[in-house]
Subunit: 224 residues, 2 copies
């Protein structure tokens, strides 16, 4: 009985890692679709989001079943509750990757991102994917140091976000308002995606140490 | 023992209602601060968000204590888990109200919203506040019909969001890129705020019926 129970708990961890891997890939592919105006790739990301939603629903049902049948206490209880929250972060990250892909689709065959911002948006997309890969690793290793490092690495996302706003506010901006709106939203999607990766890492810190990381610093003001 | 336990469950419901009331007021005040460039009001909304965060943390601790000590099953278990999720929705709504207030503060003494969008943004702010008041009521009454009505009422938010984008995309837009960026973000904040109110209502539907509402329709594409 106990054996099966710990297997169930472990399989919830596996699902979280699978979700993190899927959303990490999704944001990478969505970024490529956005930068290349690749409609087919965008469609793939959009339809793949169902898989992530299904995984979350399944995880929730299993977590609630564990709570009901096994009535875990102490660390196991914290693990189940924290898993529920992480799965919500990951599901939302998947939505944000889907938003990026939908923007690519909406502007096809035009490119939503102007050439002079391409490099910055590429870096945001790659960083988002990398932060999520770190989050997946942190779920596996429960390594508090690595979780804290992820938070530090997220500072770069805030810098990139500022770069985007500097472009937007530049008197030389000549791409028009539609593109400004697109770029504003895309910048916000990447920033929120990264916030969710940070949130996953913080939840691991909570699991391991029992201490809530200071959550007041998660989100930077979006505008400059 | 049982008596005290149901009191604890009830007090969690009370906290959810209190949170919904606070974030509803916060979005209303933030809207006024935004439209009137009222710095003091904006500061009030920003500092009041701590209260909401504290309520959420406290609620989470109490919910986990109930899970650990009382080991609820069936409906009670579902109530506790759903409460955790609702509190996350409400905490996030508070952040979004704070974002609106921060934008007001950032642009002070200028107004972030141009005159020809004032009426639309006012309606978004009022609708957001009203939807959250409905959500609070749905938490109290557990009324599935009212919860479904809230979802329908949210359609108006999507319409208003489209109106904002029509303004932005209009060739006549003469407010410059900075204002376009501000208006884009504000529109997104209200839309997400309303989504969280809808999400609270859907969680009540789940609690009462055991059925997940179709979640694929929560969020409309942000751009036109």
């Amino acid at each position: 009985m106990r054996e099966a129970y710990h297997e169930e708990l472990g399989s919830i961890g596996d699902t979280l890692v699978e979700m993190a891997n899927l959303v990490g890939s999704a944001i990478g592919l969505a970024t490529t679709a956005l930068l290349d105006a690749d409609l087919k790739l965008a469609e793939n990301v959009i339809s793949a989001d169902n898989k992530i939603d299904d995984l979350q629903r399944d995880l929730e049902n299993r977590a609630i079943a564990i709570l009901a049948r096994q009535q875990p206490v102490a660390t196991d209880l914290r693990t189940v509750v924290t898993s529920l929250r992480m799965s919500a972060d990951l599901e939302r990250s998947g939505d944000l990757a889907e938003h990026v892909a939908k923007l690519a689709r909406m502007r096809f065959p035009a490119k939503a991102v102007p050439r002079d911002l391409r490099r910055t948006i590429l870096e945001m997309g790659q960083l988002a994917q990398r932060l999520m890969a770190q989050a997946a690793e942190v779920i596996i290793t429960q390594d508090v140091e690595a979780a804290l490092q992820l938070e530090k690495d997220d500072d770069r996302m805030d810098e990139l976000h500022r770069v985007v706003f500097q472009h937007l506010m530049d008197k030389q901006w000549h791409h028009g308002v539609e593109t400004a709106v697109d770029v504003t939203l895309v910048g916000r999607y990447y920033e929120r995606f990264a916030d969710h990766a940070v949130s996953v890492a913080r939840r691991v810190i909570y699991l391991v140490t029992g201490e809530h990381a200071d959550e007041t610093t998660t989100e930077q003001p979006t505008t400059v």
